[in-house]
């Protein structure tokens, strides 16, 4: 299963890069790998989602001019943030996927901004939040609706994931 997720993550990374060429809404493109990783994390647990996120992030890094590993790190961190939603007490809340994706997007962009700033690139935080982070949050939230539904359909037919006690 983990091998399949690694391959799926890599493919998702390639798809996101291809979409970045043509699909831009309000100046940004959806962070498909992160959306898929967060959906999988909520449905199947952190362990499987992290494999998907790591390989998907790496596929993105291979096609990015930014420092190698930055998008992997950001995607993994966003998935870890989403794993808070795994705790049973929150699982029944219907809005959980949507709250989680907004939080995960915030974490993702926090890491990416820090990484890009460490590269020595000038980034004005005010315009950045208005022109990139806020639109990306809104777009990822919209994309979460079909992505979560799709992930639920896929995961429905699978065997239960192994227990993860947060160790």
């Amino acid at each position: 299963m983990l091998t399949v997720l690694a391959i799926a993550g890599t493919i998702a990374g390639m798809v996101q890069s291809a979409l970045a060429l043509g699909v831009r809404v309000v100046g940004v493109h959806p962070d498909l790998v992160m959306i898929a990783a967060v959906s999988w994390c909520l449905l199947r647990g952190r362990r499987e989602a992290l494999v998907f996120a790591a390989f998907g992030g790496l596929a993105l890094d291979m096609q990015s001019a930014g420092p190698l590993g930055l998008l992997t790190l950001a995607t993994v961190a966003a998935t870890l943030a989403a794993s808070i939603g795994e705790i049973n007490v929150f699982r029944t809340v219907a809005s959980l996927p949507y709250v989680t994706i907004v939080t995960a997007t915030a974490v993702y962009y926090l890491i990416v901004i820090m990484g890009v700033r460490l590269m020595g690139r000038p980034l004005a935080l005010g315009p950045l939040l208005a022109t990139t982070v806020a639109p990306a949050m809104a777009l990822n939230l919209v994309c979460m609706l079909p992505a979560y539904w799709l992930a639920r359909r896929f995961s429905g037919g699978l065997a239960p994931s192994s227990a993860d006690w947060g160790a």
């Binding site: 930014g66 990416v112 690139r121 000038p122 004005a124 315009p127 950045l128 990139t132």
Partner: protein
């Protein structure tokens, strides 16, 4: 006896009618016998014709159902093929227009050695403004070569592999270009800003900038050729307290819609810093 005479009488009567009809046909235009016959026969003929048509139609329907299904299938295939051709023609038209504009640009600058390249990728990171083109070291591409479109400057080559190159867009926040305002010749620096915008900075307070001004490369610094269009002023940000004026520009080239670019091969960027270091040594 009576039984034997009947048919003969009828035959004679028919022959007499035929004869009379022949005679009447030959001596006058209208033939009352034929008219009378038509009057009686017409409804029958109509009836027979209607039945024949219905039968024919029914048999035709039965016979042609398979043919119709086949014809429908063929028409659907033809329709699909035509739709495909329309899409391809439309694509070819767009490509043709794009190439025509690039060719016009190339012809307008015959001394410039330009290489056309196709945009094959974009940075998957929303914070970085890079394009990937399908030309690389094998095509003579080097780092810092200017990348143009028919409308103006796109950016600079920032990394090269054998078969592809990464282009740093002028709208990326890490990009800065020495420019001058075409109308007033005021000089400044254009820097990329978030949201695919450009900001003109370091224009002295006594220089004139107005909304609508065209901004072009000045060539200062030696890393880009002169007179390449950068963009147009849409807003002038003036502050009495500031030493310099600033302006917001709309880029001449919308990187979001770019499909093809031109790489300027015969321009060697001058590394001023390296030259100065060499001079000091």
């Amino acid at each position: 006896m009576k039984k034997q005479r009947g048919p003969a009488v009828a035959l004679i009567a028919v022959l007499a009618l035929v004869l009379a009809s022949l005679v009447l046909d030959s001596i006058q235009a209208s033939n009352p016998i034929r008219d009378a016959f038509s009057y009686v026969a017409a409804p029958v003929q109509y009836g027979v014709a209607a039945v024949e048509r219905a039968a024919s139609s029914l048999s035709e329907r039965v016979r042609s159902r398979n043919a119709l299904v086949e014809e429908n299938r063929a028409l659907r295939e033809e329709n699909d093929e035509l739709r495909k051709q329309i899409v391809l023609l439309h694509e070819a038209e767009i490509e043709n227009e794009s190439l025509r504009r690039l060719l016009e640009f190339k012809q307008a600058a015959p001394t410039q050695q330009l290489l056309a390249a196709e945009v094959i990728g974009r940075d998957p990171n929303n914070l970085l403004g890079y394009l990937v083109v399908d030309r690389g070291r094998n095509d003579g591409i080097e780092v810092n070569m200017p990348v143009l479109a028919a409308d103006g400057l796109v950016g600079r080559i920032s990394a090269v592999t054998d078969n592809s190159a990464t282009v740093l867009l002028i709208t990326d926040p890490s990009s800065s270009v020495s420019v001058l305002v075409q109308r007033s010749r005021a000089t400044g620096v254009v820097q990329g800003a978030q949201g695919h915008r450009l900001v003109l900075r370091y224009v002295t307070q006594d220089s004139s900038i107005e909304r609508g001004d065209i901004v072009i490369t000045s060539g200062l610094g030696g890393n880009l050729p002169t007179r390449l269009v950068i963009g147009q002023v849409v807003e002038v940000l003036q502050s009495e307290a500031s030493m310099f004026k600033e302006a917001v520009l709309v880029p001449a080239v919308s990187a979001a819609d770019l499909e093809r670019v031109l790489i300027l091969l015969n321009f060697t960027p001058v590394d001023v810093a390296a030259d100065m270091r060499a001079a000091q040594e």
